[in-house]
C-alpha cells in the first residue's frame, strides 16, 4: 500500500509538478542552506506562471526603503494550495522566511513560509 502511494505520488509530481520550474536554477539562484526573515508590506503580487513573485517593501536601519522580490510557486500550483490572486493585497503587512539570493544586489528570496499577523493567515510549503 505504501509502495502504491509512493508510486502514485511520484506519478503526480511527474505530471503535475513539472510546471513549477522555469528558467531559473534554484541551486544557482539561492543559498538553499540559509534562511532569512523579512518583515515588510506587500507592494505587488505577480500571480503567474512559471513562477509567482511577491514584491515587499521594508526599511533598513537607516530608514531607507528596500524592495524584496520573493519567488513563489506557479499560479496553478499555488491555486491548488489555496493561494489565489487576491489572497494578498497591497499594503498587507507580512512576515516572510526565505532562502536568500546569491546576488546581494537583487534583494531576492525564495519563499519558505509567509504569515500575515493581522488575521493569522499563513502558508508554508515547497514549490520545488
Amino acid at each position: 500500500m505504501k509502495t502504491k502511494l509512493l508510486v502514485l505520488t511520484f506519478a503526480g509530481v511527474s505530471i503535475l509538478g513539472v510546471r513549477a520550474y522555469a528558467h531559473h536554477s534554484f541551486a544557482s539562484t539561492y543559498l538553499e542552506d540559509q534562511k532569512v526573515t523579512v518583515e515588510a508590506d506587500v507592494v505587488q503580487f505577480l500571480y503567474r506562471n512559471p513562477h509567482s513573485f511577491l514584491q515587499l517593501e521594508s526599511k533598513d536601519d537607516k530608514g531607507k526603503s528596500i524592495t524584496w522580490a520573493v519567488e513563489w510557486g506557479a499560479g496553478g500550483q499555488l491555486g491548488s494550495q489555496g493561494v489565489q490572486r487576491d489572497t494578498l493585497r497591497i499594503g498587507d503587512h507580512v512576515i516572510v522566511q526565505g532562502q536568500p539570493g546569491r546576488d546581494p544586489e537583487a534583494h531576492r528570496l525564495r519563499m519558505i513560509n509567509i504569515k500575515r499577523p493581522s488575521d493569522g493567515w499563513t502558508w508554508k510549503g515547497n514549490f520545488d
Binding site: H24, S25, A27, S28, T29, D33, D103, E105, A106, D128
Partner: protein, 296 residues
C-alpha cells in the same frame, strides 16, 4: 503452390498497408521522468558545475561570466530558450502530427510550447533549411526524417542559448540533432548539440518520458514580465577571475575544481580514475544528496 501464392499475396497486402517508410505514431502527452539527474532536471544545477560539458576555453570563459540574475533582467525574463531546453529543462512533452490537407501525409510533427520555449515544428515534407545568411531565432528551423522507427530531427538557425541552466552557453552556430525513439508507452529522446564556437565535441543528453492519459498543458506565451529583483539597466555578470562559486562543488561534495570546469575529458568514465586521488568524500552530505540520504 496455391498456398505459396496466397502467402505472397498476404505479405504484399500487409506491406501496402503500411507507409512506404517505417514510422510510428509519436502523438500524445509524454510525462517527463525526472528522477534521473533529478537536480539537473528539477530545481536546477549549482553554479559553476559544468562537469561533463565538452567546453573549449571560450565556452568556459562565457559560463564563468554568467550570473543567475542575468535572466531576471526585465528584458530577459521572457526570453525564449532554444529547443535544447527540452534536454536542459524539466518539462513534459505534448506531440502531435500535422497532416497535409490534400494527401493526408504527415507534413510536420509538433512539440507544444512552454512559457520559455517556442513550439518546435519538425518539417517532414522535405523542404530545405534556410540559407546560411538567413535570420536566426530561438526557435530555429527543424526538419525530420525517419530512420526505421526512429525520428531524427535536425535544428539549425538558433540564437545563442543555454545548454545547462547555470550559464553554460551554446552559440548561434550550434546544431541540435534530436532522436525520438518510442518503445511502447516509453519515449526516449536523445539530443546531440554540436557547437563549433563553445564545444570541442558533441554534447549528448537523453531524456525519458512515459505516455500519459493526463494531458500535458501547452504553456506557451504570454510570459509576463515582472520585477524579479534586478532593476532596469543593471547587467548582472562576473568579470574574469571574479566568479565566486568556482569552488562550490569542492566545498559541498569534494569534487575537484578541475572537474567542475568541464572539458571533453570530464564526459568519459575513465576520467574518474584520473581524479580519484583528488576526490574527498565529505564527512556528511547536507543538501541535495539524492535518495533521501540526508539533506533535501
Amino acid at each position: 503452390m496455391t498456398l505459396h501464392k496466397m502467402s505472397l499475396g498476404l505479405a504484399t497486402i500487409l506491406c501496402l498497408g503500411f507507409p512506404a517508410m517505417a514510422e510510428i505514431d509519436l502523438s500524445g502527452s509524454w510525462a517527463a521522468i525526472n528522477h534521473e539527474d533529478s537536480l539537473e532536471r528539477g530545481g536546477g544545477p549549482y553554479p559553476a558545475d559544468w562537469a561533463g560539458i565538452p567546453f573549449n576555453e571560450a565556452g568556459r570563459a562565457k559560463a564563468l561570466s554568467f550570473s543567475q540574475s542575468t535572466i531576471s533582467m526585465p528584458e530577459r525574463i521572457c526570453w525564449f530558450q532554444t529547443q535544447w531546453h527540452i534536454a536542459a529543462g524539466p518539462f513534459s512533452l505534448r506531440m502531435w502530427a500535422v497532416p497535409d490537407p490534400i494527401t493526408g501525409k504527415v507534413q510536420a510533427w509538433m512539440i507544444g510550447a512552454w512559457e520559455t520555449r517556442a513550439p518546435m515544428t519538425i518539417w517532414m515534407d522535405g523542404r530545405p533549411h534556410p540559407g546560411k545568411n538567413a535570420p536566426h531565432d530561438q526557435t530555429g528551423f527543424t526538419t525530420g526524417v525517419w530512420n526505421g522507427n526512429e525520428l531524427i530531427a535536425t535544428t539549425t538557425h538558433i540564437k545563442t542559448g543555454y545548454i545547462r541552466r547555470n550559464g553554460a552557453a551554446s552559440s548561434d552556430q550550434a546544431t541540435i540533432t534530436t532522436h525520438f525513439l518510442r518503445h511502447g508507452d516509453l519515449l526516449t529522446v536523445a539530443l546531440f548539440m554540436e557547437d563549433p564556437v563553445y564545444l570541442t565535441e558533441p554534447y549528448i543528453l537523453t531524456r525519458s518520458y512515459n505516455l500519459s492519459t493526463n494531458p500535458v498543458a501547452i504553456g506557451g506565451p504570454p510570459c509576463i514580465v515582472g520585477d524579479e529583483g534586478v532593476e532596469p539597466g543593471r547587467v548582472p555578470h562576473y568579470l574574469p577571475g571574479k566568479n565566486p562559486y568556482t569552488d562550490e562543488m569542492t566545498k559541498r561534495y569534494g569534487i575537484p575544481e578541475e572537474a567542475e570546469m568541464g572539458g571533453a575529458q570530464t564526459m568519459y568514465p575513465e576520467y574518474r580514475d584520473k581524479i580519484k586521488d583528488k576526490f574527498k568524500l565529505p564527512a556528511k552530505c547536507t543538501l541535495n544528496c539524492g535518495n533521501n540520504a540526508g539533506g533535501n
